[in-house]
Structures are given as C-alpha cells and as structure tokens.
Amino acid sequence: MEGMEFLEFRRVYKIYHNGVRALTNINLSVREGEFVFLLGPTGAGKSTVMKLLSREEVPSAGDVWLDGFRVNRLEDDHLPYLRRNMGIVFQDLRLLPMRTVFENLVFPLEVMGLRRTVMNRYAREVLEVLDLEEKRNHLVEWLSGGEKQKLCVGRAVIHQPKLVLADEPTGNLDGHSAYEMVSGLFQLCREGGSTVVMATHNERILKAFPGRRVYLDRGEIVRDSFRE
C-alpha cells in the first residue's frame, strides 16, 4: 500500500435534482492498473459512478478521488487536463455527428493539439484493430450500430489514457466482436498499465474474463468480489 489508491469513492451520495437517489454511501477503491467490472440491474447506478469520475456530474455528498485529485472540487480550468487522461465509452455513444470515422477517432488527439501525421499513425493502428479501415472517411451516420460502438471504444483508447471508463461497450456487438473488444481492453490494462472500469450486462463476457466484480443494486454496493 503506498498511501492513496488511484481511484477512490469516499462515502459518496448522488441524488439527482429530480429527487432520484442514484447512489447511497458508496465506498470504493481501485488500484492503478486494475480491471473492474461494474455490474447490476437497470437503474442501479453504474453510469452514475462513471459520470462522477468524469465530472459530468458532481456527488451530492462525499468525495471522489482520482490520481491524487479530488475530482468533485477540481476547478473548471483543470477539467480538460483531467479528461485527457481518461477515455470514455458512453452508453449512448455520443459520436460527433457530421464528422467522419477518422475525425471522430482522433478527436482526443486533436484536442491535445497533436499534429496530423501523428494522428494518422495512431489512427491507422486502431482502425486496423477495429476492422474499420474501409470506413475511415465515412460519416459516422453511415455506420451500423455495432460499428459505431467499436468506433467509440477506439476513440476511448487511442490516446492510451490512464483510466478507461467503458459503459456497456458491447451492447450492440455480436459475441465474437464483443470478446475481441474486451480482450483488447484487458491487454491495454495488462500491458499499458491503464485502469479500466467497465459496466456490462453481457454474461458471456463475464464468464470469459477474470477480474474484479463490483455489484451495485439500487445505488448501493452489494458485493465486491474477484474472479481468477
């Protein structure tokens, strides 16, 4: 133990402005380089946990610590730099409309001000893994549901972030693609040292992969186990 964990929730509550209690007294710590599955039925609060980590929402009480920073107290000016160390696969995808596959994919790099040649190099690699080379210059509107989802995962990892938040990243993928996708994330975790938090309902994936499992139900952590 070196004092503080990479990611920590300390007595976190989240009550949305419409009165919905999404999280109740969440205490959770995750070491750097860990792979965590976030499980639980619909409405359990999985996406809310993700949103607190990316400061899309702030907790109603308690603190969220990430890499030594208290996320919920971070100044607005620092947020972009926090988020550049993150890759997020949104449950509702959130691709930038009217842009091509390539433009969406390299957006996290563009934001950092990388040069086009560098972006091209990174993109070529990821597009190959995702099997989307042919669609490089297609508008994202022209992709199928599964292709969009793969693109989202690609966008979340292209800049090799320290933390990957993947919210239901396999919902529109067939069994084989889903397996490959999660394998890729595992590899990133093992070899790249990234921490991955992944919310999923995919039981086949859960059977196939080891790792820590945190079960949420109605906003509370009801089980926290590890499977080899």
């Binding site: 990316s54 899309e56 607005d76 947020l79 972009p80 730099y81 926090l82 988020r83 550049r84 993150m86 997020i88 959130r94 691709l95 930038l96 409309p97 009217m98 957006f107 996290p108 934001v111 950092m112 966008r155």
Partner: protein
C-alpha cells in the same frame, strides 16, 4: 484548418450562417444610410454657399469704396469663406430675375435696392454666429440670412447630429444582439457536440475558436455585401438624382466608396467577432454552471 471548419458549418446549416450574415448586412446598410446622409450634409454645408450666406445691407449713404474696405476687413474673419459686394444695379437685376418681371415693370426713375455684401460661410453651423458678428460691426443697416431655409436646415442638422449618435449606437447594439443570438443558436444546436468535446478534454478556447472565426467571417462577408449593395443602389439613385435635380449638390458615388468599404468591413468584422465572443461566453458559462 479553422477555415475548413467554418466552411463545414456553412455546409451543415447554410440557413443559420446566412442569417448571421443577413443580420449584420442589414444593420450595415443602415449605417451606410447614415454615412451617405452625413456625406451629403457635409457637402451641402460646404458648397451651398449661396443659400447659407449672410447678406448685410449698407446704409444708403455708403459708397462703393467704403463698402470695399468693409468687405476687405470681413475677409479676415475665420468663419468667412467668401465676400462678394452686390451693387445696387446687380440687386435690381437679381430681383427682376427672381420674380420673372420685365424691365418695364419696375419704375425706371429710381433704384430702391441698397448696396450689400454677401458673406458666405464654409459651414452652415457658422451662419448664425457670422451674422451676429456682422451686426456687431455696426457698419450695416440690416443683416439677414436665409431665414427659414437656413433655420430649418440648421435645426434638422442639429437634430441629426444629436440623434444620429444615439441611432447609430442603437443600430450597433441591435446588430450585436442579433449576431449574438445567431451564434448562440448555432452553438445551442450543437450543444450536445460541445458537451462531448468538453468530455474529450477540449478546452473552452478550443471549443470557442471556430465560432469566433465564424462570427468574424460572417461579419466581413456581411460588410462586403452591404458595401456592394450600397454602391449599386447609391450609383443608381445618385445618377437619378443628379439627372432629376441637377442644381442640387448631390454627393458623388466615388465619395462614398472608401468610407463605406472601410466602415462596413471593420464594423462588420468587429460586431461579428464580438457577438461570437459574447455568445460563446454565455453558452459555455451556462454549460459550466449545469
């Protein structure tokens, strides 16, 4: 890179882009009306020496020589551009001409018109003070100036000068409000996108930049369009006016060109940029507060 981005915005929603241009364009047209009006007034004030001159009548016993002396003195005054002595005979002929009378309509025995000087002022505003100074010299029986015409014109001129600033400010604010709203709408229609950009680690500067370019370019385009339209309309109208009322000192089209071009592009670009800035600030602040 950013020009490409602006071009993409245009392609994606030409309506919105053109709305922005239209709003600035429209206000620039109003500005141009003022510019032309101002130039016209300026020309009127400078050149209509005859209408805006003061006429001072000498007493009956003054000789032409004495009149010359007084006229010479007047030429030293700063508000005097030109001094002409009108002899009694000249006055009589002018009178006949004005009333379209024949020589024999007037009694030939005696000329009732007194000797006078006409002192023209370079600027219409100076006419009343010039008249006052002439009165103060004591050399004249009576000092008259255009009366109603000049007075009307003067009041109008003063009204325009005092309200013109207010109206121009109003126009400026109006176009700023419109362009701000257009950019705001443009941003709101991409609110989702802006939010996603933020979540990908984009700074506000990064998000805002293309909108600033967009507003600035819209302003420049609008200014150019306003300039071209003004030029065409002015050219046509002035040609008509020159033909219809040739005696009136209308401004020339060439006099209009440079001032409108400069004002339109500068003001257009400035208003567009400022509008984008205000709008992006408002939207981003709103987003942050959420």
């Amino acid at each position: 890179m950013f020009v490409r981005e602006v071009f993409r915005r245009f392609r994606r929603n030409p309506q919105l882009f053109l709305m922005g241009i239209l709003s600035i364009f429209f206000t620039q047209l109003i500005v141009n009306v003022f510019i032309v009006g101002y130039l016209e007034l300026d020309k009127l004030g400078t050149f209509r020496g005859d209408a805006f001159s003061v006429r001072a009548y000498f007493p009956d016993d003054v000789t032409t020589g004495q009149a010359e002396e007084v006229a010479e003195r007047l030429r030293g005054y700063p508000e005097v551009a030109e001094v002409t002595i009108v002899s009694r005979e000249q006055a009589r002929l002018k009178f006949l001409e004005y009333f379209d009378l024949r020589e024999e309509d007037l009694p030939p025995e005696e000329n009732p018109f007194p000797l006078s000087v006409e002192a023209a002022s370079p600027r219409v505003e100076d006419v009343p003070s010039l008249a006052e100074r002439l009165r103060e010299t004591g050399s004249f029986d009576e000092v008259l100036y255009g009366g109603r015409n000049v007075e009307l014109f003067l009041r109008f001129y003063q009204m325009l000068l005092s309200t013109g600033g207010v109206i121009l400010l109003g126009v400026f604010v109006f176009s700023l409000v419109v362009i701000t709203n257009v950019i705001r709408i443009s941003m709101q229609s991409r609110e989702h996108e802006i939010q996603v950009c933020g979540l990908m680690g984009a700074t506000e500067r990064f998000i805002r930049r293309p909108y600033l370019y967009e507003g600035f370019l819209q302003g420049i385009f609008a200014g150019l369009a306003a300039f071209v339209v003004t030029y065409l309309v002015a050219d046509f109208t002035l040609e008509f006016l020159h033909a219809a009322f040739p005696f009136f000192p209308w401004v020339e089209t060439e006099d209009i060109l440079v001032p409108t071009l400069v004002v339109n592009t500068a003001m257009g670009g400035f208003v567009g940029f400022l509008g984008s800035f205000v709008a992006s600030n408002a939207v981003l602040r709103g987003k942050r507060r959420q």
